[in-house]
């Protein structure tokens, strides 16, 4: 485990470096030695993108094109992300079904009818274009599906192992997965929800735990170039929303009474507590959403910022320091992948437990 950790951290650093060199040289050649902008580079890596950008070789980016799916007033439009030719500055205009699209900082805009180039206002927002409904298979969606395939492979194989062995003895991959599954059951679900009701929530907790964990890990694999799915607020929002829905719909009488008419306190206090409790209902899932998003994104930003130091100081002498610190943070990040998955699952379980708790 330690060896693997070390290896993946080292690779993380190496690949990021390769990618940066490419990035830097591209900047240097095409944009007349424009100053290296770490903020733009970091945000570009942390945010979603339309193609799976793998590496730059001599200023030629290599990437896996992904489908872009847009819904506009005139219906569905699809094309591959490669048609933008890696441009995300709104320079390449793609014409499809009589509509013009540009990619401005990994956001697709549809140019208003008759316009041929995108114009910006003072804050660099396009003024003559609008965002269509965007259902594109971005690199985050793509990586999410890869993670789903990996998860399905792992757990369907695990399930098969039990069926095959007949006497329920875990073998092969099952002996790796069973302790984790039993951990979620015995250390998360049972203590948080209670011995009698935890079973109902087990599928959700297990799925959330492994889904977050594997995407946290994928986010650390550098060749995927920061497919930062679990550090994307849309993803964490979706999961937190599911937790919110389940909490709300499994809430019993006691739970609602607790929110609207707190038992055991005087009436003025009840009235005072009601709005607080109602806000609390929403704050809980929102905290889940922000915690996961912020932790994962922060980790990525730190590693990227440390690597950026090399290009800010424009000397290779900083590299050992940057690499050493990135390695350190990288190892911490590997621990954080599991911790954040655990925290999200524990808190979800805690909220379910509160919702289903009986009056005492």
């Amino acid at each position: 485990m330690t060896l693997n950790t070390f290896k993946s951290a080292l690779f993380s650093v190496l690949f990021l470096t390769v990618s940066f060199f490419g990035y830097a040289s591209e900047d240097a050649h095409s944009e007349n030695k424009e100053e290296f902008n770490p903020k733009e580079m970091i945000l570009h890596h942390v945010k979603d993108a339309y193609g799976m950008h793998i590496i730059d070789i001599n200023g030629h980016p290599i990437s896996i094109p992904l489908p872009i799916i847009l819904y506009t007033d005139s219906g569905l439009t699809t094309f591959m992300s490669s048609e933008f030719h890696h441009d995300y500055n709104g320079e390449v205009v793609v014409e499809k079904d009589g509509q013009r699209f540009v990619n401005v900082h990994e956001k697709i805009y549809r140019l208003n009818d008759g316009e041929t180039t995108v114009k910006y206002d003072a804050e660099h927002h396009p003024i003559n274009a609008e965002r269509p409904w965007d259902f594109s298979i971005t690199r985050n969606v793509f990586m999410m599906w890869v993670s789903v395939i990996v998860l399905l492979f792992i757990f369907l194989t695990t399930a098969k192992q039990y069926k095959k062995s007949g006497n329920y003895v875990p073998k092969g991959i099952a002996s790796f997965m069973e302790p984790l599954i039993v951990f979620v059951r015995d250390e998360i679900a049972k203590p948080m929800i209670g011995e009698h009701k935890y079973k109902r929530f087990m599928p959700y907790l297990l799925t959330v735990f492994f889904f977050i964990w594997i995407n946290n890990i994928f986010g650390l694999i550098p060749i995927l170039n920061g497919a930062n799915l679990s550090g994307n607020i849309a993803f964490t929002f979706s999961l937190a929303f599911c937790t919110f829905l389940i909490t709300t719909f499994s809430g019993n009488k006691h739970y609602w009474k607790h929110i609207f008419w707190m038992p055991g306190v005087p009436v003025p206090m009840k009235i005072f507590l009601m709005p607080i409790e109602i806000v609390g209902m929403f704050v809980k899932p929102i905290s889940l959403m922000i915690r996961l998003f912020a932790n994962i994104t922060a980790g990525h930003i730190i590693i990227l910022a440390l690597m950026s130091l090399i290009f800010i100081f424009e000397t290779i002498a900083v590299a050992p320091v940057s690499i050493a610190f990135s390695l350190f943070i990288g190892i911490i990040e590997i621990v954080v992948t599991a911790i954040q998955a655990y925290i999200f699952t524990v808190l979800s379980a805690l909220y379910f437990g509160m919702a289903t708790e009986e009056a005492h």
Binding site: M144, R185, T207
Partner: protein, 164 residues
Amino acid sequence: MDLIKPDFGLVFWSLITFVILLFVLRKFAWKPILGAVEDREEGIKSALASAENARKEMENLKADNERILQEARSEREALLKEAREIKAKIIADAEEDAQAKASKMIEQAQAAIESEKKAAMAELKNHVAGLSLEIAEKVVREELSNKDKQLQLVESMLGEATLN
């Protein structure tokens, strides 16, 4: 600001993917896996319980055995005691019997001896009487054949009588 604004497309795909993943895993992974784990835990629990039961039963059996053994031992003891008593009684009875028989036999023997003796005595008496008569007859006959001797005898007898 883009960073903290959820992108609609990704929310859409995340929700759909997550829900599908949840249902697929629930049906094909979590149910069989958790079922297997629970079954095994149940199995272990029941195996342990049955082992405990077996141990208790074993203990009971042992106690039973001990008890039965104890009972058997005390029964043997009792039997032996009884046998000994019976033996003693039989010996005593036999002795008594023998004593009684012996004394009876002795009595009978004595009685027999007595009667035999009596009979013998009677016979002897008769015999003696006969003999005496015969002797007397012979003596008388002898005596009577000699007159002088008779006179002499009478005289001696008379002389004795006067002396009396």
